[in-house]
């Protein structure tokens, strides 16, 4: 019994222990003065995060809201486009080519362009977050909609299912794992898009805090803002993964990869 529980716990224990050991090594190297001035001790970063939590919270809220708005907008547009292309197959190559080209525009080039058109404002940053999410979502959604086999489609046709029935009972459930795959790819990207928008110009946000700290050589604040940003991205990913877990419960694992 105890052996069984050890085996169940091993995938968690070993990486956590590794992480703890790495952090301890880092801490001792820092307190021994072996690290350059740009690498503070982990405890110093933790203390910084706790003492200045008001600052981090102040900058976290707009970044999170912008990223989530862009993300939701991208989901809406990608699903609408995917459904349209799914019904009008002749559009597929055009939409995918266009999407692939738009996806190739370096976001670093897009940020100044959008700033010229839309100004240093919230819509600019939401648009950036939306555009960076769009293609992964569209590509995975399309693959999902194409997922049902020809045999399954033929069966639905033979059984005289309406197209709505076919969508609800066959296409949508089959596409769901692919949707979630795309949603998981896109969630951290939304944070990245927002961050780039804030780097190009904003008054408030984690990107502003980060570049400000970089230019003023405020090492602790730089590490702190990077930690908060990574935590935000991982949190979004985690939420989507959790929703996926509940939505796809009871299905055989590894359907979409």
């Amino acid at each position: 019994m105890s052996r069984l529980s050890w085996q169940a716990a091993a995938p968690w224990v070993l990486p956590s222990a590794t992480l703890a050991v790495l952090l301890a090594l880092w801490q001792s190297a820092a307190s021994a003065g072996m690290l350059p001035a740009t690498v503070p001790a982990p405890t110093a970063i933790a203390v910084e995060l706790v003492t200045n939590r008001a600052i981090y919270w102040y900058h976290l809220v707009p970044t999170a809201l912008t990223a989530i708005s862009g993300y939701l907008l991208a989901i809406g547009i990608a699903l609408a486009a995917a459904l349209t292309v799914h019904h009008v197959r002749s559009l597929e190559l055009a939409v995918l080519s266009l999407g692939s080209c738009i996806d190739s525009i370096p976001i670093i080039a897009l940020a100044p362009v959008l700033t010229i058109w839309m100004g240093v404002a919230l819509p600019t940053r939401i648009t950036l977050a939306m555009i960076i999410c769009l293609f992964p979502l569209l590509a995975t959604a399309l693959r999902g909609l194409h997922a049902p086999s020809d045999a399954a489609r033929a069966l639905f046709r033979v059984l005289a299912a309406s197209s709505w029935q076919q969508f609800r009972k066959l296409t949508f459930p089959a596409a769901l794992p692919y949707f979630f795959h795309g949603l998981k790819i896109a969630a951290p990207l939304a944070v990245l898009g927002t961050l780039v928008g804030e780097w190009t110009g904003a008054e408030q946000g984690l990107g502003v805090l980060m570049t400000g700290a970089m230019l003023n050589l405020e090492i602790l604040q730089l590490w702190g803002s990077v930690c908060v940003t990574c935590a935000l991205a991982s949190l979004l990913y985690g939420v989507v993964a959790l929703i996926e877990y509940f939505a796809l419960r009871g299905r055989p694992a590894g359907e979409a990869e």
Partner: protein, 271 residues
């Protein structure tokens, strides 16, 4: 007369038109890019004449192409810088990934300890860490290479690790029966089977790799495409900025296409 057809050979007229799959992919993607660019420029010209858009909002195709010609030298230089940094970064990243993945295969506990951490780190948008890396690594070409290497490492590492573990049990047992040691198995069986996976990893990392290089330049001021875009933006030289945007987009699209073609070639040789 119909002997060749009956024997299952395609008629000669059809075989003349058959291109290999990688070449078709290359032609299709380059053609798509040219088409989209041409369409975009044509639409732009139409919009400018229709709505009388002032040049400070959006310069016309003629102005953009003129800026491209005027700055051809510096743009070509910046493009080469960015591409070379990206390639060097990807090479460093591949070598470290192969070494790390081999270590994972050799020592299972190491794999168990580090693999979950790698999987978690992969979900973080690592470009967000770039300001920190610039503080750590300084500015310049070495820094760009290091950032590209660091940011693409996780994708490539995971792909290579999967590749090294791809050989089936029966193949591994055959190596064992033939008396092959760990290194021989690695060299003769695991590495060849990992190569297609490496190229898949490179393909996944490719588009973000160019982006990473541009980010590094944007933040550090190293003389590449990313830095030039920001420079043109801040000096309000919008025609040059658009020329750079077009070049940057094409470069990143073609870079991705190149890795897709290589991936297809290696996958075909494998199968």
């Amino acid at each position: 007369m119909t002997a060749a057809v009956q024997a299952g050979h395609p008629p000669p007229s059809a075989s003349r038109l058959v291109l290999s799959a990688p070449l078709r992919l290359l032609l299709r993607r380059t053609g798509g890019l040219a088409l989209v660019l041409a369409l975009a420029l044509a639409l732009l010209q139409a919009a400018i004449t229709l709505f009388a858009i002032p040049p400070y909002l959006m310069p016309g195709p003629a102005a953009i192409l003129a800026a491209l010609a005027d700055n051809a030298g510096s743009i070509a230089h910046g493009t080469c810088f960015t591409i070379l940094c990206t390639l060097a970064g990807l090479a460093v990243s591949s070598v470290i990934s192969l070494a790390g993945a081999a270590l994972f295969v050799a020592l299972a506990p190491v794999r168990q300890a580090f693999m979950p951490l790698l999987l978690v780190l992969r979900t973080v948008p690592l470009i967000a860490v770039a300001p920190l890396l610039i503080e750590l690594l300084g500015r310049g070409a070495g820094n760009s290479i290091a950032i590209v290497a660091f940011l693409t490492f996780f994708q490539i590492m995971l792909a290579v690790e999967k590749g090294l573990r791809a050989p089936t049990t029966s193949r591994l047992e055959l190596m064992l029966v033939c008396g092959a040691g760990f290194w021989q198995t690695l060299w003769l069986l695991r590495l060849p089977s990992a190569l297609p996976f490496l190229f898949t990893g490179l393909r996944i990392a490719a588009s973000s790799a160019i982006l990473c290089a541009m980010f590094a330049e944007f933040l550090s001021g190293a003389p590449g495409l990313g830095e030039q875009i920001i420079d043109a933006f801040s000096t309000q030289d919008f025609a040059r900025m658009w020329a750079l945007v077009i070049v940057g987009t094409s470069v990143s699209y073609l870079f991705l296409t190149a890795t897709m073609v290589i991936e297809k070639i290696t996958a075909r040789e494998d199968g």
